[in-house]
Symmetry: C2
Subunit: 359 residues, 2 copies
Amino acid sequence: MTGRNDSEGDRFPSTGVQCPLPLRDYPQIVLGHGGGGQLSDELVRHLFLPSFANDALQELGDASVVALGEQRIAFCTDSFVVQPRFFPGGNIGELAVNGTVNDLAMVGAEPKWLSAAFILEEGFSMDELARIVAAMADATARAGVDIVTGDTKVVPRGQGDGCYINTSGIGVVPKGIVLCPSRVQVGDAILLSGTIADHGMAIMSVREGLGFESEIASDTAALHELVATMLGVCPEIRAMRDPTRGGVAAALHEVAQAAQVGIEIDDAAVPIAPATASACEILGIDPLAVANEGKLIAFVPDEAASEVLEAMRAHPLGHNAARIGKVVADHRGMVVAKTAIGATRVITTQIGEALPRIC
Amino acid sequence: MTGRNDSEGDRFPSTGVQCPLPLRDYPQIVLGHGGGGQLSDELVRHLFLPSFANDALQELGDASVVALGEQRIAFCTDSFVVQPRFFPGGNIGELAVNGTVNDLAMVGAEPKWLSAAFILEEGFSMDELARIVAAMADATARAGVDIVTGDTKVVPRGQGDGCYINTSGIGVVPKGIVLCPSRVQVGDAILLSGTIADHGMAIMSVREGLGFESEIASDTAALHELVATMLGVCPEIRAMRDPTRGGVAAALHEVAQAAQVGIEIDDAAVPIAPATASACEILGIDPLAVANEGKLIAFVPDEAASEVLEAMRAHPLGHNAARIGKVVADHRGMVVAKTAIGATRVITTQIGEALPRIC
């Protein structure tokens, strides 16, 4: 491994020497390395990025954009290990299609082709596999994409857990569209497409056997049509993120870091369903850190924000959309929230994750 | 699930009624569903194909080819679960890069971009992960491709087995090149790029603790430059296959079925290293059914075969290349071999697999 990101700045205090592999405190993989928080970020920045060094990877977008002749194509990959595989509002198959469609949509791409690779555990129910595959087929039909290539591996009993799915995706980025966190500027408005924390709390309520009075359902949905609508109104939108693992907090953090700007949100402006809010409160979990699977955050030039917001609200997947904050020149690289009582709190990303196998 | 492939012909004899899901004998996934033999084929033909129905998938190539404006791009995916992860001649990281490069090469594509998705088990050694990632970086540098996007999931201890890797790949198919099993014609020559069964026997010898006198090393290698050399000599090559899971036998079978032609090979003409041949004989395994990771089979118009073979032999990855047989009008859909004593034997594909987690 060579090279590193100096902004990380994890020097040994006594010597000023930089450690090329500051994963030193973790000789083994821990759950948090897959949680979308600080440990995930370390693994990416200090192992994968320097090893696989190239410009497209360096952007760290939800999908990479590469040039192919006159066209630009988006390419992304995601593995799905969610447990349970069927949950209120969705299942692993639907998630695997929507998740990859959304990663393509976040760079403004029109999703076209998906791959599907299964790692099945010996003994996995053929009937359940058929139900998962049917859900994937439905989701691709709804999203207007095709699964054009696939792979199946079977591992012996005890060396997997039922069914893991990887989907990769290819999309085409329309001419003139460049969605990229580094384009975010001071003064931009921050729009959120709907209520937060529904997916994570749906999983948690089922898995932990928490009988909340009203059932919380996952928000899993394909966002590419909402994105196309927004870009139709304002092709100059700077960047988008779908706040999955790590939630809205992690997504905002990534942008604050990438663009080296400050981000200020208004707690009261963030939409959250009452049942989800109650569940988060009971469990003492910050909903900003909980995973979503059908929401997006957009960084929009302030002068276009009202018009984009109106277009979002007219779309079925955006009718709870809200302006939740703005990009500021203060506290660059940080995210803060104005609380209901007028105070300011710093929004940090989690070190690990609240809940493994959330997606 | 709707639709089915009539050529499968698994009717209930008494009624003539076709069963849409003839996986009825297997209510659960068995290891053979991932083995590249008949069970894998059933899963693909009776579950995935009818569910995800589209033209590109229907071809069942190592990679799918889709049109993007004036260009044609190849897209493929493969998960790697090989055990042990480090073996004579290679490791899971190298395999994950070369395997996907080869799937792209088998449709004639120039490999360009790869994704890398890791499913890690809690407790997996960070040092081993770094060695795997370094091997992937080396392999991409050698193959001239970039890993441009990735994902990492961590599953709790006991719900995985160390490290599973998925790589998907995108390549560009040069104008005029169409490699596709259905193009294979009676009279075509069948060329094989080198010795068979080395990868499978390397894995088996390590895993089963078989101390063969001479160490057998995996043949893992990226074949796209060999392919480009061959297509440079003869752009009319009909089809190629890399004989991985299921070995040469399964690859030939797929082509015999897809093109509805007979295939006849000459046992004595198939190159095999003495150590590998001995190991197969000791274990009673047909080397034709053993996995390769750096070999290809090409179906070439007879009149161009000698020239293509010469070009293969001049390439470092083809110096043991041989003409192993021909495409015939007899016994369509079947593969037969002429034995050393002049008899003919039918080459069948295995139902399951000789060895799980071979790649």
